[in-house]
């Protein structure tokens, strides 16, 4: 368990990573709708993922309104693949009762 990526393991961040994993890119509203997270909650988790280099955040404007586009970086995609593999290994090794 020690080598599991705890940054991804947190449920809200796992949800964010999963949704970004299945698309090329998405905007902030999309992620908020799909994950059901509040604005502040989503922002703080995205900041942590961005700092870790897992998520690319591009801030721009759509007309005169701010518009944030998000995507997984290659490192983020690799980290998520590793997380899935590792978690499957750990839980797959458990004996059935």
């Amino acid at each position: 368990m020690a080598d599991i990526d705890r940054l991804i393991h947190e449920p809200a961040r796992l949800e964010i990573m999963m949704h970004l994993y299945v698309v090329q890119n998405a905007d902030y509203l999309f992620l908020q709708k799909q994950t059901g997270l509040t604005c502040g909650n989503l922002s703080s988790h995205l900041t942590r993922l961005e700092e870790a280099g897992y998520v690319l955040v591009i801030k721009g404007y759509s007309g005169r309104k701010p518009h944030t586009m998000l995507s997984l970086t290659p490192e983020g995609r690799k980290a998520f693949d590793n997380y899935r593999t590792r978690l499957a290994q750990i839980l797959g090794d458990l004996p059935r009762r």
Binding site: V22, D27, C39, M69, R84, L87
Partner: protein
């Protein structure tokens, strides 16, 4: 365990959510209603008017959906798959139009042998129904939206009934009714979508 974190399910859920607005249902329902009404009244202009009206939900769909669900670019694999099915649906749609035009031209020329004339008259509506149902099936398969399969059944049954009612000159009724049913379903889905997804001000972006 890996099945519990089902990436495929997440992808499917996200993709299906982009068809929960009912606009395509309204589009299909309007065209089918127009087709039925034009048969019923003998006024082909009605079909053209309904096709023109049906373009409205298609044109306003993107800003309405994106303003409520956000913008997303799906995976390359999904985009390719969607393009493949869109092409298939367009080909099937074009076949319906071409066969319809061909039938009208042949039928009005009265130069067909009697047996071919009878065969056309008996099976034309079924053929059109089967083609339209196959378009609905392609749409259902491409979008993973199950109600499109139900529409395929409704359309095929409506055209089957139309073929039966043809001798009484009432073939337009089941087609119009099927179109109305799909249109009504689309309107209900749209109202529910608008109610469940209020337009969030993008200024609230982080």
């Amino acid at each position: 365990m890996p099945k519990n974190i089902s990436i495929e399910n997440v992808e499917r859920k996200v993709f299906v959510s982009y068809f929960s607005d009912g606009m395509w249902d309204i589009y299909g329902g309007l065209i089918l209603s127009g087709f039925g009404l034009s048969i019923l009244t003998g006024q082909m202009i009605l079909l053209i008017v309904f096709i023109a009206i049906a373009m409205v939900p298609v044109l306003i769909r993107k800003p309405i959906v994106a303003g409520r669900l956000g913008n997303v670019t799906f995976s390359i694999k999904r985009e390719k798959k969607t393009m493949k099915y869109k092409t298939a649906a367009w080909i099937a749609g074009s076949l319906v139009l071409v066969s319809g035009a061909l039938f009208s031209a042949l039928y009005s020329s009265s130069s067909l042998p009697a047996w071919l004339d009878t065969m056309f008259e008996n099976s034309f509506l079924l053929l059109i129904g089967a083609m339209l149902a196959s378009i609905a099936c392609i749409a259902g398969y491409a979008t993973a939206v199950r109600r499109f399969y139900a529409y395929a059944v409704v359309v095929f049954l409506a055209f089957g009934l139309a073929a039966v009612l043809r001798p009484q000159d009432m073939e337009g009724i089941p087609v119009t009714a099927a179109g109305g049913l799909i249109l009504l379903t689309g309107i209900v889905i749209l109202i529910r979508f608008l109610r469940n997804n209020p337009n969030i001000d993008q200024g609230a972006d982080r």
